[in-house]
Amino acid sequence: MDWLNAGVQGVLLGGQYALLACGLSLIFGVMRIVNLAHGVLAVLAAYLSLVLVQRGLPLWLAVVVVVPVFAALGYAMQRGLFNPALAQVGGSDRSTSRSASRSASRSAGELAPLLVSFGVAVALTNLLQEVFSADTRKIPTGGLASAGVPLGELSVGVLPLITLAVAVAVIALVQLFLARTATGRAMRAVADDAGAAAMMGVDPKHMYAVATALAFATLALAGVFVGMSTQFSPGYGELVLLFAFEAVIIGGLGSLWGTLAGGVVLGLAQTIGAQIDPQSGVLAGHLVFLAVLVVRPGGLMPRSVPA
């Protein structure tokens, strides 16, 4: 009975991880940037909606405010920070200084955006700690977080069910957007070959910023769900980043549905691990991730959909 319960909870938890991972996967898929600030940005979204709810806004209205704010933040961050960092690869070929080979190298191309995002993560985490202290918080949901529906002998939480449904819906919508709309096609073109896409009249810088805006919108949504279901603190962003990343890798790079499967596998590993030893849930998740890396480095569903 306990095991069945752990299994159901694990699948539902997987929905939350998949929702978190969606934005990470999208940004990597389009520009090959790994955003190390992903986790703390989700936590920032949680704090922002917490503040709005405390000011008396209903929760749904807080979400309606926070998601577009984050989309705008994503567009601005891409334009202001990540695009200049990406540009360092191409621009440095002309440099004739002693460091020409250093900065023109391909590793430097991956390096700059990665370091920028890490700097943002460190600064933002500690800024949140100064503003909100290290105490754990939770977004009040008016009983939603504790409500459950009976399923046989089990009780399934309403909030995790909603989270899973939202995750599936978001992934389906992003997939549809990439496959069916003109902007989505342009985004895939830029991901494949930014230079060729630019010759066809697509502005890669704008496309990158749109992709990041979309990713940040899903990330904000995920952050609000995390804030409703979990006790969070500024440092929680670190775990959020690791969980989202593990979901992406377990599922397989470049596949959004794979990410959903990866999130579910990770959620199951954590709840079943916690069932064996309450202290070891997170560790079990990490170990399953490492095992997948050894046995199936491509993930469960490698590259089924270009994204």
């Binding site: 790994v34 200084s97 002693r98 590793s107 390096l111 700097g119 100064e130 990490h286």
Partner: protein
Amino acid sequence: MTGPTPPATPPTTAPTVTRGGRGSWAGGGAMLLVVVLLAAVVPYAVTLGALSSLVMLFALVILGTTWNLLAGYGGMVSVGQQAYVGVGGYALIQLADAVGAPPWAAVLAAGLVGAAIALPTSYLVFRLAGGYFAIGTWVVAEVFRLVTMQIDGLGGGAGLSLSAFRGTDPVERVAFVYWFALALMVAVVLGTCLLMRSRVGLGLTAIRDDRVAASSLGVAVDRGRRLVYVAGSAGAALAGALIALSTLGVTPGSIYSVNWTAAMIFIVVVGGIGTIEGPIVGAVLYWVLQQALAPLGTWYLVVLGAVAVAVVLLAPRGLWGLAPARFELFPLTHHVRRPAVGATAPPVTGR
């Protein structure tokens, strides 16, 4: 080691390749002077607390130098080097207290333990590339921390404290740790410099610049990267052991903290990535900022993060990159002179 390499009597048409030069002699002399001052004058001029804080500076130089080996020369951005800082700290305490090794031997052995753990780990994390390598190493560091906390013999969540120095006079203890840390820092920096001057180092530079081209020219890419990962991790373990030796204890939360890697990244990026001098400059700056901003609590980390972002975007070669190219304290760059007909062509430099 600071001498210019004599060119192998080239025919008149071939370019001559030299390394080092007057700048390196002067720089090397200046650094020797600084080391002598640190060893012979400073310990008698400052307080015990200041000496302890200088030990932290030496540890930071080691951390920066070895992270630079990974990222600047190996092209591998690891966000999980705190794994080896932690391993080094715990190994030191176990070796000194449980095994009973003398502290200096325990520190060196802790470095070896770090290397021994890094070797199998490299097979795991090398399955990931680029940014995913970065987060993958972070996961590994979390696994190390969580596993350490599960082992009762390692003190669980409370950590361990070092008792090998019990009964030793504090002045004697701090002086020993100080001189030992200074010697270790000099050894690590010189060792890195020698490694980069060797044939292996040349291969590493080629790997960093273009992995595929290096491989096609016969550079053993995987072996080179593995060597760098193991050496860099051993350095982090040495630094971790020094930190534990200086603070007389470890807790899993602090010794495995990702803030160690944040410090390494700041030191290398702000100092100047891909140079030997950069991490030294960066470590001094980090240490000064940390001392100056300590009363402000975690604000200094906010400042550090913002400064790192600004440097990456505005001065990607770091502070050392702003210095003129002829200042090169460590002779690594090859200077190529083409003997043109009539006039001498301007020298071409490359790393």
